[in-house]
C-alpha cells in the first residue's frame, strides 16, 4: 500500500489537497469511474429535486388512469395498478433506496472498522475471537441471513437499514484487520508505541488514517451491495413496506403484471441496475486509483 512509506511526521501534517493527489488523477483517467460518479450525482440530484418539479406526487391515486403505458399521456413513464405516476414513484423510491444504501453503508463501516481495528490491533484472544465471529457470519449466504432476520422483524426503513448493515460489515472488518495487522509492525507505529501513546490514540490517529484507502473502496462497494440487498428483500416481500416506495418494493408485484404491463417491472429494475453499476464503477476506479498495484480493470 502507498501508505506504508509514510512516516509518523508527515501524518501529523494536513493531507495534500484531494485534487493534487496522484490517485485522483488516476481516478479521473478511469473513464468508467467518471461515468459512475456522474451517474451517482445525476441520480441523486434527480431523486432530491425531481419530485418537486413533477405535477404528480408519488402517492396520488387516480384509478381511472391506471396502467397507462409510458410515453402515452400526461404520465411520462406511465402509471401503476393504482394509477400513480411511475416517474414520481421512481424518484421518491430512489430517495429511499439511496438513503438506505448510504445509511446502511455508514453503519456497516462503523461496525466493520471498529471490529477490524480492535481485532487487528490486539490480535491474541480478542482478535481471534472477533475474527472467528466474522468468519462465522460469513458462513451464511447473505440472502439466507437477510431473509431469516427480515421475516422476523417488523419492517420499517430504519429496521431494514440496520438489518442490511448487520449482514454486510464482515468484509470490511476483514479488510481492515488485515491492513492494521500489516501496519502495526511499521516504524511509525513502533515509534508511537515507544513514545507511550495510548492504545486508542495509536489505533485512531496512527493506524486508521493509513488504512483509509481500502476503507473508502469498501465503503463505495458497500453502498452498491446495500442497494441490491434492499431490492432483494423487498422483492421477496419482507423489505420496506408500501406505501413507502422503494425500488425493490416497486418490483414486488410487478411479476404478476409482466404480461400486461411490463414497464412496471422494467423501470425500477433499470433504476437499480443504473445505481448499483455506478457505485461499482466508482468503487473499481477508486481501487485502481488508490492502489495502483492492483490491476483488475
Amino acid at each position: 500500500m502507498s501508505a506504508s512509506h509514510v512516516s509518523v511526521e508527515t501524518l501529523s501534517l494536513p493531507p495534500p489537497g484531494l485534487w493534487h493527489r496522484p490517485g485522483f488523477k488516476r481516478f479521473r483517467r478511469h473513464k468508467l469511474a467518471v461515468f459512475g460518479a456522474c451517474g451517482i450525482v445525476l441520480l441523486t440530484l434527480a431523486c432530491v429535486l425531481g419530485p418537486m418539479l413533477l405535477p404528480y406526487t408519488d402517492t396520488f391515486i387516480d384509478i381511472r388512469q391506471r396502467f397507462a403505458p409510458p410515453f402515452s399521456g400526461p404520465h411520462i413513464l406511465g402509471t401503476d395498478p393504482l394509477g400513480r405516476d411511475i416517474l414520481a414513484r421512481l424518484l421518491m423510491a430512489g430517495r429511499i433506496s439511496l438513503a438506505v444504501g448510504f445509511c446502511a453503508m455508514i453503519i456497516a463501516m462503523a461496525i466493520g472498522v471498529c471490529i477490524g481495528l480492535i481485532a487487528g490491533f490486539y490480535e491474541g484472544i480478542v482478535g481471534t475471537a472477533l475474527m472467528r465471529f466474522v468468519d462465522a457470519m460469513l458462513c451464511f449466504p447473505s440472502i439466507f441471513l437477510l431473509l431469516a432476520i427480515s421475516a422476523l422483524i417488523q419492517p420499517s426503513v430504519p429496521s431494514i437499514v440496520m438489518l442490511i448493515a448487520m449482514t454486510s460489515w464482515m468484509e470490511v472488518a476483514r479488510v481492515v484487520e488485515a491492513q492494521i495487522r500489516s501496519l502495526k509492525s511499521r516504524d511509525f507505529v513502533q515509534a508511537a508505541v515507544s513514545f507511550g501513546a495510548s492504545h486508542r490514540r495509536i489505533m485512531f490517529r496512527e493506524l486508521l488514517p493509513n488504512a483509509v484507502a481500502p476503507i473508502v473502496v469498501a465503503a463505495t462497494l458497500n453502498v452498491a451491495h446495500a442497494i441490491l440487498a434492499e431490492s432483494y428483500i423487498s422483492f421477496l416481500g419482507y423489505g420496506i413496506q408500501p406505501p413507502t416506495p422503494s425500488w425493490g418494493n416497486m418490483l414486488e408485484s410487478a411479476q404478476s403484471y409482466l404480461t400486461s404491463a411490463p414497464w412496471l417491472a422494467i423501470l425500477p429494475g433499470a433504476a437499480i441496475t443504473l445505481a448499483v453499476t455506478s457505485f461499482n464503477f466508482v468503487g473499481d476506479g477508486l481501487r485502481d486509483a488508490l492502489d495502483p498495484r492492483m490491476d483488475l480493470g
Binding site: 465471529f133 460469513l138 458462513c139 449466504p141 431469516a148 418490483l251 441496475t273 448499483v276 461499482n280
Partner: protein
C-alpha cells in the same frame, strides 16, 4: 499436510458451532413464531395454542432449547419439520438435488464462458472486446438477479414463447429434453454473476502469468503463441481459478435462492423461503447449518487446491 488439514478441520467445527449459536439466537429471539401459523387459521383458541407450544417445547428457556437441539444435531437428529413432521435431513435431501443441478450446470457454463472471455480479454488487452467484457462484467455484477430473471421470462416466455416460465419439468413428461428446456432460463440467470466473476479473475490471473519469466522464455524460444498460451499460460492461470469456485459457494447459494423463487424451481432456496414464512424453525436451522457446511467445504477445498497449485503458499489462519 495432515496437520494442516486437521487444524483447518478443527477450525471448521468451531466455526460451525458459532454459526449454530448465531442462527439459533436470531431465529428464536425475534418476535413472531411458529405458533402464529396455527393462530392464523382462526380455528384454534389460545388454550389449544399454548398446548401445542408446550408440546413443541417452545415455552422453555432458550439455552435449554439450544442445548437440546445441539445435542440432537450432534447425534445426527436434525429434528422434524413443524409442517409435515418429516425429518429435516429428509426434507433437505429431497430438495438439494434440484439446487445442485442448477448450481453445477451454471458453474460449468460460467467457467467455460468466463475463462474464454477472461483469456481473450487478457490476450487482447485494451481492445474493444476487452473493454466491452469489462463493462459487461460490471453490469452483470450490478443487475438484481431476480430482475434479470423477470426480464428473461418476459422476453423468452411471454414475448417469444421459446422457454417455459418456470418449473423443473412438465408433469407427465420427465424426459431429458424437457428438463433441459426448463433449465435454460434459471441456469442463464444463475450463471450471469458467476461468468462475470470468472472472466474478471481469469483476465487478471492470465495477465499475471503472461508476464512471468517462463512465458517470456518460451516466447524467446520461438514457440507459437498458441502453444505458449495452452501449454504454459493457461495451465498456470487455471489452477488458482479453481479455488475461486470454492469461495464462490455462498454467492451461488444466494443466487440459487432468488433464481428458484423467480422460476418456481423446487429447490433449497424455495424450501428456505417457505420454511421461513411458516416459522418452521427446525428446517430453517437445518438449511442454515447445511449451507454453512457447504460454504466451509467450499473454502476448505479452495485452501487445499490453492496449496496444491502453489506449494509456496504459507498456510496460516
Amino acid at each position: 499436510m495432515s496437520s494442516f488439514l486437521l487444524r483447518r478441520f478443527g477450525q471448521a467445527v468451531l466455526l460451525l458451532f458459532i454459526v449454530s449459536m448465531i442462527g439459533f439466537a436470531i431465529l428464536h429471539l425475534a418476535p413472531g413464531g411458529p405458533m402464529s401459523q396455527f393462530a392464523a387459521g382462526g380455528e384454534m383458541s389460545q388454550e389449544d395454542l399454548d398446548r401445542i407450544a408446550q408440546q413443541l417445547g417452545l415455552n422453555r428457556p432458550l439455552p435449554v432449547q439450544y442445548g437440546e437441539w445441539l445435542w440432537r444435531m450432534l447425534s445426527g437428529d436434525w429434528g422434524r419439520s413443524y409442517r409435515d413432521g418429516q425429518t429435516v435431513t429428509a426434507i433437505i435431501g429431497s430438495h438439494i438435488g434440484a439446487t445442485l443441478q442448477l448450481m453445477a450446470t451454471s458453474t460449468v457454463l460460467a467457467m467455460t464462458f468466463g475463462a474464454w472471455i477472461g483469456i481473450l480479454g487478457a490476450i487482447r488487452r485494451y481492445s474493444l472486446f476487452d473493454s466491452l467484457a469489462t463493462v459487461g462484467a460490471m453490469i452483470a455484477l450490478s443487475i438484481p438477479t431476480f430482475w434479470f430473471g423477470l426480464v428473461l421470462i418476459y422476453v423468452f416466455s411471454v414475448w417469444l414463447g421459446w422457454l417455459p416460465s418456470g418449473n423443473r419439468y412438465t408433469i407427465g413428461d420427465g424426459s431429458l429434453m424437457n428438463q433441459i428446456h426448463h433449465m435454460i432460463g434459471p441456469v442463464m440467470v444463475l450463471a450471469l454473476v458467476s461468468t462475470a466473476v470468472w472472466s474478471r479473475y481469469m483476465r487478471s490471473s492470465m495477465l499475471e502469468v503472461v508476464n512471468q519469466d517462463y512465458v517470456r522464455t518460451a516466447r524467446a524460444k520461438g514457440l507459437s503463441e498458441r502453444s505458449i498460451l495452452i501449454r504454459h499460460a493457461l495451465r498456470n492461470a487455471l489452477l488458482p481459478m479453481i479455488t475461486i469456485t470454492g469461495l464462490h459457494v455462498p454467492t451461488l447459494l444466494s443466487g440459487a435462492l432468488v433464481t428458484e423463487t423467480v422460476f418456481t424451481w423446487p429447490g433449497m432456496g424455495r424450501l428456505f423461503l417457505d420454511s421461513i414464512s411458516y416459522r418452521d424453525y427446525p428446517v430453517v436451522m437445518g438449511i442454515l447449518m447445511f449451507s454453512a457446511v457447504l460454504v466451509l467445504l467450499g473454502s476448505l477445498t479452495a485452501d487445499l487446491l490453492y496449496g496444491v497449485a502453489d506449494p509456496r503458499i504459507a498456510r496460516s489462519g
